[in-house]
């Protein structure tokens, strides 16, 4: 019968489709570009610092993959344009790759097919993996070079917490670019109405959340909100309780401790008493906060423009430093720039020259003003660009008051997998599906297993 034949054809087609989906990660074809790039990269393997050129012999074009869109992308382009006007022999080709997830996927695929760009925006946790696989260029020789490098003052001008986040065994494999931190957003209308002061400690935070949970015109206001990715914030709470999270050097999970338990109990208690909620289906806390459904929340400073947009016409708001527990501790996250080892020495030089400009005092202040990220240099905080900006936008300045209490997440293989587990266990506690006493050891044991597995996998 014709139908059977047709079914057979369709079946074959279906199987191919399934198989294609299975093979999806592999579909990037081997690129011809790899062949002409592999030769110079072997030269760069030499450890001799003087081996790289310090002067360009002709025009160079470098590609820069980034994850910036909208106004962020325009600001980046403005910096690149100014740089190109000063360096007519260097052309910066900016390539937007979507969001960070897309960028990571594309970098993975490009590393495999040997089509990596000259430089890219990266997150430090990725760099550990790249560095172990010999994919990124060690920038230390460039930084320390007497002619084209940074002076000691220029290097130490970079905020220590950002500097350290980009150093592996004393070597810089990336440099901080766009940085953000956690800050406390609060609804000034509601705070005034309920007579609440800005909380500075855990106790005050709890009391504020209690006072700010109430019903108004049939609409319920919840005291404090948490992002859906609350598991990623757990590191901060453990540190604030005085505990340790995961040791970067050994990859040991340390949060199953009395301090860890204290941290989890504190957050879980807020949820149990119904004075806290997750962003849930609203995706990001800025939405319910902007509607006035939630009186305050601790979230990323990168969310300032989203909060401003959601709040416009609805509520008045301000930002303050994150309250402290037994200790002050605030995470700094964000991204960096890295140069790939596959680039030619000339391209690497051009990339370094661009990075130097990108991260200078004026540009980091300009970048921070245009995007809401934090300046990465102390000198930028004193620059007129930044001072004028913060005068009008005090919320953007809050993050810079917390530099001394700053820390960053461990940059170890398997951290994402471990965080997924912590996230799930904490979510189960907050949704009332699991007791904190059971979730904490479970999270620690499973996170440890993931880290050990990733470690075994990445061992050279």
């Amino acid at each position: 019968m014709i139908m059977i034949r047709r079914i057979r054809f369709v079946l074959a087609l279906g199987l191919i489709l399934v198989a294609a989906a299975c093979g999806k990660p592999e579909t990037t074809p081997p690129a011809p570009a790899g062949s002409d790039k592999s030769a110079p990269s072997s030269a760069a393997d030499e450890t001799d610092d003087a081996a790289f050129p310090t002067r360009l012999r002709g025009p160079v074009e470098i590609t820069f993959w980034h994850a910036m869109t909208g106004h962020h992308e325009e600001a980046l382009k403005a910096i690149a344009d100014r740089f190109m006007a000063e360096h007519p022999d260097i052309r910066i080709k900016l390539v937007g790759q979507g969001n960070y997830g897309d960028l990571q996927e594309k970098l993975t695929a490009a590393a495999k097919s040997k089509t990596l760009p000259v430089m890219a925006q990266v997150i430090e946790t990725w760099v550990t993996d790249y560095q172990q696989n010999g994919l990124v260029q060690d920038l230390t020789p460039y930084i320390e070079h007497p002619e084209i490098g940074w002076t000691k003052e220029e290097l130490e001008d970079i905020i220590p917490v950002f500097r350290e986040a980009n150093r592996w065994d004393g070597r810089f494999f990336s440099l901080p670019f766009s940085k953000s931190t956690q800050i406390l957003y609060y609804n000034t209308d509601l705070f005034q109405e309920r007579g609440v002061e800005v909380p500075k400690t855990w106790d005050e935070l709890r009391q504020a959340a209690e006072k700010l949970t109430f019903e108004r015109n049939g609409k319920k206001v919840i005291g404090i909100g948490f992002e859906n990715s609350v598991g990623w914030q757990f590191h901060m709470w453990v540190r604030q309780a005085g505990g340790r999270y995961i040791d970067e050097a050994t990859g040991t999970v340390l949060f199953d401790s009395p301090e860890g338990r204290q941290a989890l109990d504190f957050i879980a208690g807020l949820f149990k008493d119904k004075i806290a909620r997750l962003a849930g289906e609203d995706q990001y806390m800025s939405n319910p906060f902007g509607r006035g459904d939630v009186a305050m929340y601790i979230g990323s400073s990168a969310g300032i423009p989203f909060v401003a947009k959601a709040a416009e016409g609805n509520i008045h708001w301000a930002a303050a430093a994150v309250p402290a527990g037994a200790k002050r501790a605030v995470p700094f996250a964000g991204n960096a720039v890295a140069v790939f080892d596959s680039a030619t020495p000339e391209e690497k030089l051009a990339a370094w020259l661009f990075i130097k400009t990108l991260l200078n005092t004026d540009n980091t202040a300009y970048w921070a003003r245009e995007t809401g990220y934090l300046p990465i240099r102390r000198s930028a905080l004193e620059s007129p660009i930044w001072k004028d900006f913060v005068k009008d936008h005090p919320a953007n300045g809050v993050g810079t008051e917390q530099f001394d209490a700053g820390f960053f997440d461990p940059r170890i293989p398997g951290f994402d997998a471990a965080m997924k587990i912590v996230q799930k266990e904490i979510e189960a506690v907050l949704l009332g599906e699991k007791a904190p006493g059971a979730a904490l050891p479970d999270a620690a044991a499973k996170a440890q297993a993931e880290i050990d597995r990733a470690k075994a996998r990445s061992r050279e």
């Binding site: 019968m1 139908m3 059977i4 047709r6 079914i7 369709v10 079946l11 279906g14 199987l15 191919i16 489709l17 399934v18 198989a19 294609a20 989906a21 299975c22 093979g23 999806k24 990660p25 592999e26 579909t27 074809p29 997830g101 990571q104 996927e105 993975t108 590393a111 495999k112 993996d129 696989n133 010999g134 994919l135 859906n228 997750l278 849930g280 289906e281 609203d282 995706q283 459904d293 293989p413 398997g414 994402d416 997998a417 997924k420 799930k424 979510e427 189960a428 949704l431 599906e433 990733a454 996998r457 050279e460």
Partner: protein, 296 residues
Amino acid sequence: MPDKPNLRSTAKAFVYLAPALLVLGTFTIYPIVESFLLSFYTDYDYFHDRVYRLGFDNYLYLLKDPEFHLALRNTAVFVIGVVPISIALSLGIALMLYRPIPLRSFFRTVYFLPTVTSVVAVAVVWRWIFHSDYGLLNFGLGLLGIQPVRWLTDPRWALPALILFAIWKSLGYNIVLFLAGLSNIPETYHLAARLDRAGPWRRFWSITFPLLWPTTFFVSIVSIIGAFKVFDEVYALFGGSPGPLSSALTLVYYIFVKFYREQDYAVASAAAYVLFLITFLLTVIQLWIGRKRTAV
């Protein structure tokens, strides 16, 4: 009549086939082989193509990984939840749209719209529909006196919400296939049955349903394969997460997370092959049933 195959005709055929083979070979066959091999790498350097040890560790890991079991279970529930309802609903709607009703082409367009719109775009609308405080669905349920359901944030309701969304999304394509199948059934059978005073119920079961069987069969195979591969719907509906407490984690989502988020390439490939094996076996079984049925 075609000649018997000889060297010349074979060579000629090969030239005609070459472009398709080249594309399929590069983008389909080669990745299939590569990811099959990758699933057995237990100690390897992914970026430099160096393999130190081969083995079954990745499959053993899947056997023990509770996340993978959850993904398997969720996918099974999803397939069982979506496919029969979607087929029954789309068949029903196709039967109605086949009859000369007013505004028929308008309705046909309306039902086909979900198929041509982007999953991500409609997911935004559905996220609003499912919203527990401001959503349309809970508003409707509220009118019936039903307490609001936390569709997207309660681990017990996330999968049902996903199934609802997927059924709606899949209707259009199935309806079009059924409409095509219905138009292949000669009207004379129905006329003859009417003369014999067969009611609509009898006519459906004795004429429409058996003659529509090849289409139904085809739709069910395509739907099952499609349902096993569900990913976009999850990603879009839960905003890049597999739902609260991974309650909507599906097989392909698991593969995606393992590969791109956790750089666990070998385990991701092993999981992809488990998925392939499941869909392959199910399709063979369906084909076997289908053949028996068609032979009758």
